[in-house]
């Protein structure tokens, strides 16, 4: 084996075979994948099926708290989880850039394996392509996931009503700040680690118990809690009012945001969920979330009120203001 990815690793010949059998198969060792057929045979699946896909592009691919491999598994598992589905099988599409150190690929693969194991999902099929140097960013991963819906629960944005509470399962912005710092062009040091984690174990056990209390859930990834809540408010056609004092933000993340002029509301998370729940069950659901390691800092962050749809915030100073979609990326300010 070479210590770097070469174009010939993607050309379908002996080197491709070697890469798959000697490297990838070493990490993804399971009976569905093992025969290396053109499709993973999942067998009979009981229940209603959910299906999702996502592409993962992150610079740098390795950052405190995670890497692109863990991200690629968790992102897809979480998309299924917030729709009430337990991930059964996922695919793994790798697009590698010529020259990528083999050790980097192996690091990503081992993270994928560990995350899949944690989430209880089988990596059932895959594909590898190699692009010329300069045409990729080291490593891109796409995953698609099949899941089985929890019986008796479906996302129901239309069930949202005034008096419902808005819950967040933990602190905002950890992932994006960890990645920003890992880029090392900010000259900022802060002990922030990404929150990337699979959320099935946190969310799915709640669904049978609070079936008619949990209206719907989303994972606030790109665009953060601010964008996710705007999308949720418009799909529920409801007015969400956040309470600034209750928004959970880690001190180190807040410090970085203060310096750069970023709003943690719009920073990506990879291990958090937003839930809209019946107001009467909110405290009980928060308590249940807090019993899980990924929900320790779960909190009620606002409520649904009667009035024109959209997202508002009651500020610490006692005022009310709009929380809108941001335009483009947040850019560091001049002064």
């Amino acid at each position: 084996m070479h210590d770097k990815i070469l174009l010939s690793h993607g050309e379908g010949g002996k080197r491709t075979r070697d890469l798959v059998v000697k490297v990838i198969a070493r990490y993804f060792d399971n009976p569905v994948l093992a025969p290396f057929l053109d499709a993973g045979l999942l067998g009979r699946i009981e229940g209603e099926i959910a299906f999702t896909t996502d592409g993962y592009v992150v610079t740098p691919p390795f950052f405190p708290g995670g890497d692109i491999g863990r991200l690629a598994v968790c992102g897809t598992v979480n998309d299924l989880a917030v729709c009430g589905a337990k991930a059964t099988a996922i695919s793994c599409g790798l697009i590698l850039e010529e020259g990528l150190p083999l050790s980097s690929l192996e690091r990503a693969l081992s993270a994928m394996r560990d995350a899949a194991e944690e989430a209880g999902v089988t990596i059932a099929c895959g594909d590898t392509k190699v692009v010329e140097r300069g045409k990729g960013d080291g490593i891109f991963i796409t995953t698609a996931g099949v899941g089985v819906s929890v019986d008796g629960w479906r996302p129901a944005p239309s069930a949202v009503r005034p008096g419902d509470r808005i819950l967040l399962t933990g602190t905002m912005g950890d992932h994006q700040v960890a990645v920003l710092i890992a880029r090392r062009n900010l000259a900022i040091e802060a002990p922030v680690t990404s929150d990337v984690s699979p959320l099935g174990g946190l969310l799915l056990p709640l669904l049978p118990r609070f079936a008619d209390k949990i209206r719907f859930m989303r994972d606030p990834t790109r665009g953060g809690v601010g964008v996710t809540l705007n999308e949720m408010a418009s799909s529920a056609n409801a007015r969400f009012v956040l309470d600034e004092a209750r928004l959970p933000v880690r001190e180190s993340v807040r410090g970085v945001c203060e310096i750069l002029g970023f709003d943690p509301l719009y920073l990506a998370n990879e291990g958090k969920a937003v839930l809209i729940v019946d107001g009467n069950a909110a405290e009980e659901i928060v308590a249940a979330l807090r019993r899980h390691p990924y929900g320790r800092e779960a909190a009620v962050i606002g409520e649904v009120e009667a009035g024109s749809p959209g997202v508002r915030m009651r500020t610490l100073a006692g005022g009310v203001r709009a929380v809108d979609y941001p335009v483009g990326d947040q850019l560091p300010r001049i002064c």
Binding site: N185, E251, R321, D324
Partner: protein, 364 residues
């Protein structure tokens, strides 16, 4: 980093008490105060202070957003420089979406113009040193807050002999613009909430001529919600007592004389010049150009690309917004032809722009 410190400046109970005091001190007609600085504008909008004080205080937003007052001729000059294949532009992020006469850096970036976003002017010197075959031109936009850092970068480039680094300057100083507004009978400002960071550099004494000559109270305030409420309260107290002086709410950082070292860098690298403010016009002595001793680092001279200032003639009323003559909602384009996705005027572009802050945080 002591972040408990931040919480102290965001305490809801203290905020409530201050709002009550402000309301108690205000008269029958709303008092017209101006926050000069864009960071204050955003902080006021983000913390929902404007509606809290409605009826008691009208907060006018001033010209203190560097992006907003940069004339479109500057953007045009930057774009034409960037079209030179040798040139690699380096800029603060929030300049990218600012429209020039026909395009913006962001749009040109899609057309193969190369712009690197940097977080400090010194990063641009490092970039130049690392890419000796390119001419790195830093877009030096800002007020007294960024001028020392840009001056420092020029000095560093001179010491390290980084000959392929230069700056296209668009630097302005705040007190001159405040004087123009203080003397404008249409604006009728009854008190200035003076910038926090700028005052750290220039010192709070810099506003004394405004308080003394024009009889307008000045209070330097920090950017936290309680800083702002306390600053407003201090302005109202001065008005009630019938005095006009410079007071310092931000004494934990800003001093009367300012930061002498930063001032020295400014004096060494730059000389005052007349300069155009978008929407306002040319204000004598309110700009900083690069001094002769450092002319080798002046991109305008090096590449012969002059920054032309021409008063724009459009329906956009950013100029009146920047002068506090109107509020954003009074502009016919606001929220219609001019929105953050397709900004017409600069006040809608910058995250610190008055119109953007009104659009983003308004409409409760």
């Amino acid at each position: 980093m002591r972040l408990k410190y931040i919480d102290d400046f965001r305490d809801p109970a203290t905020a409530k008490a201050l709002v009550e005091r402000i309301r108690g001190d205000a008269g029958n007609a709303p008092v017209r105060l101006m926050e000069v600085c864009g960071t204050h504008t955003v902080a006021i909008a983000r913390s929902g202070i404007r509606p809290l004080l409605s009826g008691a205080v009208t907060m006018l937003s001033g010209p203190g957003c560097p992006v907003c007052v940069t004339p479109d001729g500057y953007i045009d000059a930057a774009i034409s420089l960037g079209r030179d294949r040798r040139v690699l532009l380096a800029s603060f992020g929030d300049m990218l979406r600012v429209p020039g006469r026909s395009s913006s850096l962001e749009k040109e970036k899609g057309n193969a113009l190369e712009v690197r976003i940097v977080y400090s002017p010194l990063d641009a010197v490092t970039l130049a040193a690392a890419t000796p075959d390119r001419e790195v031109v830093f877009l030096g936009v800002g007020f007294e807050t960024t001028a020392p850092a840009i001056g420092g970068a020029i000095k560093t480039a001179a010491v390290r002999r980084v000959g392929n680094f230069s700056v296209l300057p668009s630097l302005r100083t705040i007190p001159g613009a405040m004087e123009v507004l203080a003397s404008d009978p249409d604006v009728r400002i009854e008190g200035f909430l003076c910038p926090a960071h700028v005052s750290v550099v220039i010192g709070t004494d810099a506003y004394r001529p405004i308080a003394e000559t024009y009889g307008i109270p000045c209070v330097v305030a920090g950017f936290e919600p309680l800083d702002i409420l306390l600053g407003i309260s201090m302005l109202l107290r001065q008005k009630k007592e019938g005095v006009a002086r410079v007071e310092n709410e931000y004494s934990r950082v800003a001093q009367a004389a300012g930061n002498r070292k930063a001032q020295e860098v400014i004096r060494e690298v730059f000389v005052p010049c007349d300069t155009g403010w978008r929407g306002i016009g040319v204000i004598p002595g309110s700009g900083l150009r690069i001094a002769e001793a450092y002319a080798a680092f002046d991109a305008e001279k090096k590449f012969g690309v002059p920054v032309v200032f021409a008063q724009e003639k459009t329906a956009c009323r950013c100029g009146d917004v920047l002068k506090g003559k109107i509020l954003p909602d009074d502009c016919p384009l606001f929220g219609k032809a001019c929105v953050p996705e397709e900004p017409y005027g600069p006040c809608m572009v910058s995250g610190e722009g008055t119109c953007a802050a009104y659009y983003k945080y308004g409409a409760a």
